[in-house]
Structures are given as C-alpha cells and as structure tokens.
C-alpha cells in the first residue's frame, strides 16, 4: 500500500494528484504534510487533482474542507479539480457540498483559475497599499 502522496512544487504553487484509494491515516498524513509544505515554500496556491478518485466519502470530504480552511489562514488559495460525475452525485446525496472550496473541471482550467485568483488577490493588496500610502501622505 502507498504510504505517502507526493506534493510537487511549481513556482508559487503546490500540485498534488490523489491516485490511490486512500485509507484514513494516509489522508491525515497528507493534510499535515501539505500544511508544512505551504509554510515551507510560502505557496500562494494549491491544486488538488482528484480525477482518479473513485469515491469521496465524508472522511475525505472533511479532509478537503480542512485543507481549504487551513490554507486560507496561511494565505494560500486551494482548488480541487477533476471530480468525477458519479462521485459528485454521491457527495451531494450524502449531504456534503464542500462549501467554500473552489473547483475546476481539469488541471489546465484549475491552474488558470488559481493564477487568476492569486493575481486578483495581489491586485487587491496593491490597491490597498496605495490607499494606505495616499492616506498616510494626506495625514502628514
């Protein structure tokens, strides 16, 4: 059985593709590993590809939500891509809608969306910075 899910670093982003049927401990390890990597690489975004996952139960759903929440605190955007239709239908029926998690159809679209989200954020920061500068000047 696989005992670790590899996390790849690409520029400001971290990429991971879950391709095995995860047992619970593996999911918990991944959660911790990913959090450490975000801090270590000061990642701005995380892309999680689940196109090979045949099921997502409440445990894995909870892991995804947890990753998204922790990443938000660490100022990294998370996007989950490639969920299979059967998995999506089942999750909805189960009662899990993974609110607040960004999604995309495939890795390509997901990456574009992630870059967009990070760029929007930087613009916002920039605008705020300028606002502060001008107000600081006005205060002089």
């Amino acid at each position: 059985m696989v005992d670790k899910i590899p996390i790849l670093k690409m520029g400001k982003y971290l990429l991971l593709s879950i391709q095995v049927d995860m047992h619970d401990q593996l999911a918990l390890d991944l959660q911790e590993d990913l959090t450490n990597q975000i801090v270590k690489h000061r990642a701005k975004g995380v892309l999680i590809d689940i196109s090979s996952l045949e099921i997502v139960d409440s445990f894995i759903g909870r892991m995804l939500s947890h990753i998204a929440n922790v990443s938000r605190i660490l100022d990294a955007k998370v996007i989950v891509v490639g969920m299979q239709p059967a998995v999506a239908i089942t999750l909805v029926e189960l009662g899990l809608s993974l609110d607040g998690i960004a999604t995309a159809l495939n890795v390509e679209k997901g990456m574009a969306r992630l870059e967009q989200m990070v760029a929007d954020d930087e613009l916002l920061e920039l605008a705020r910075g300028e606002e502060r500068d001008t107000s600081a000047k006005a205060g002089d």
Binding site: V80, V81, G82, M83, Q84, P85, A86, A88, I89, L91, V92, E93, S97, L98, T103, A104, L105, N106, K109, G110
Partner: protein, 279 residues
C-alpha cells in the same frame, strides 16, 4: 408409484399422445401467423421426451436437478413467445392442452386412475404456471429495456457554443428521469470540458418538490466538478410552486428564457457577439 406410472405411459404411448396433443393445440387455436404446425409438433415432441425422462425420477419437486432440462426448454419457449407477441394464455395453453390426451390415457390404462390423475394434474399445472412466470419475466425485461432507451432518447444534451451546454427538458419529470438527465448532463460536461450548462425547463408542465430537489442536486454536483449551471425557462406557475413549496434555490442562477441564459453564459466566457451590419 404414480411417478413411474406416468413416465411409463408417456414412453409407451408417445406417438399417440403427441398426435392427440398437437390436435388439442390446433383445436385450442394455433397462432398460424406466428408459428407453423411443424414447429408446434417438434416443440411438443421435445417436451414430451424431456418430460418422460424427468417424470421417471419423481414428480414432487420441480426444483430438483432432474427437472432442469424441462424447465430450461419451457423457459426458452416462453421467452421467445413473449418476444414474438404471443399472449400469456396462448403460451400456457401449450402445456395445459396436454392434459386431455394424457388424462384419457391414464383413465384407460390405470387401476387407480384418481390418484395418478391428481399427480399428473398437479404436475402440468406447475409447468403451466412456470411458463407464465417466465413469460412475464421476459415481458418485464422488455419493458425495462424500452423504458431505459426511451429515457436516454428523451434527454439530449446539446453544445450551444464551445464551453456551453444546454439540456432542454420536455414533458413531465419524475425522479427516475431527472436522475438520468442529471447523469447525462454531468457526463457531457466532463466530455466536452464545458464550464457552463443551461438546464431549460420551458417544456416541463409541473415541478414538484422531488424534481426541484433533483435539479438543485444537479446544480450542486456540477459545481463540485467545477462547472456552473443556469436554470432557464421557469414559467410563472412553476416559480410560484417553487416558492410555495419552500424549496430554497440558494445561489442557483435562474433566467426567464433560454436566450437570456445563453446571453449570460456568453458573457461569463467573455464572448461578445457583434452584428455584421453595425460598422
């Protein structure tokens, strides 16, 4: 023993029984438009032979192994008859019409006919019912197949633009159909990598709570996959029903017409349509 008596009778009088049985079937009415007498005869002969072998082993338990060949033959026959368009009573008559010739033989040949008659009657009744059962089973399978193919036919998913799908729903929706619609749409989203899907319900006469829930689930599932759904063509009565039922549409995007929804979808994709004459 009645079992061996019947088996013996069947064996000794095979020719006469066959002739009389075919005659009985002819009198009961053979569907000459579907089957010729030659086939009826060969079918009857085959069953008679199988019956002789099986009866010698005991009549009581049709589930025991020595009855399998007889059941197999009746199964095949009933199934093919149900597909060819025979009625269930025509199918059962095949077995039941053996009663008259067989009973006549028993009456003529046996010392204690009542007991043997009773056993033979029980046996033929069971076999007749078995025929009806396999006939019905086959009918149900046909109905199921047709239902499935009809559902697939009635839910076409079309691509309006690169990245925009539409599914025009027509006719009443039940949960089963809505479920199939939902699956077809989501599959197509993955296939065509479409970011937007328009579910048009202009042709849907009524929406009940179940259907509204299913539509909502489809929208949520699409969102989980990374696509956005727009519901269009909600008629005034349906809008009123949805509000009345207390179904929470949440952040689902709705538009009055398919055209409006399409326009919005194009906008989402940053596509602008310009009239060729307006220069």
């Amino acid at each position: 023993m009645p079992a061996s008596v019947i088996a013996e009778l069947l064996q000794q009088h095979e020719r006469e029984l066959l002739d009389e049985w075919v005659t009985a079937q002819r009198l009961a009415g053979i569907r000459t438009d579907l089957v010729d007498e030659e086939t009826v005869r060969s079918n009857s002969q085959e069953l008679l032979k199988l019956l002789t072998v099986a009866a010698a082993e005991g009549l009581d338990d049709l589930h025991s192994a020595h009855w399998t060949p007889v059941k197999g033959m009746l199964d095949r026959l009933s199934r093919s008859q149900s597909r060819q368009g025979f009625t269930s009573s025509e199918t059962a008559t095949f077995v039941f019409s053996l009663k008259e010739p067989l009973f006549a033989r028993i009456q003529a040949q046996c010392a204690n006919p009542v007991e043997v008659l009773w056993d033979a009657s029980k046996l033929l009744d069971k076999l007749g019912l078995y025929c009806v059962e396999s006939y019905m089973g086959s009918r149900e399978a046909i109905i199921r197949e047709q239902q499935e193919s009809m559902l697939e036919l009635s839910t076409p998913v079309v691509e309006l633009w690169k990245g925009i799908l539409a599914i025009p729903l027509i006719g009443s929706l039940d949960s089963n159909r809505t479920q199939i619609v939902m699956e077809a749409l989501l599959e197509k989203i993955v296939q065509t990598e479409s970011d937007l899907a328009i579910i048009d319900i202009t042709g849907v006469p009524t929406v009940d709570t179940m259907v509204a829930q299913h539509l909502l689930k489809t929208v949520t599932a699409a969102k989980l996959m990374g696509a956005k759904c727009i519901i269009s063509g909600i008629r005034p009565q349906i809008a009123a029903t949805i509000v009345h039922l207390g179904v929470e549409l949440g952040d689902v995007v709705t538009k009055a017409s398919l055209a409006d929804a399409f326009q919005m979808a194009l906008k989402e994709l940053n596509v602008r349509l310009v009239s060729a004459t307006a220069r």
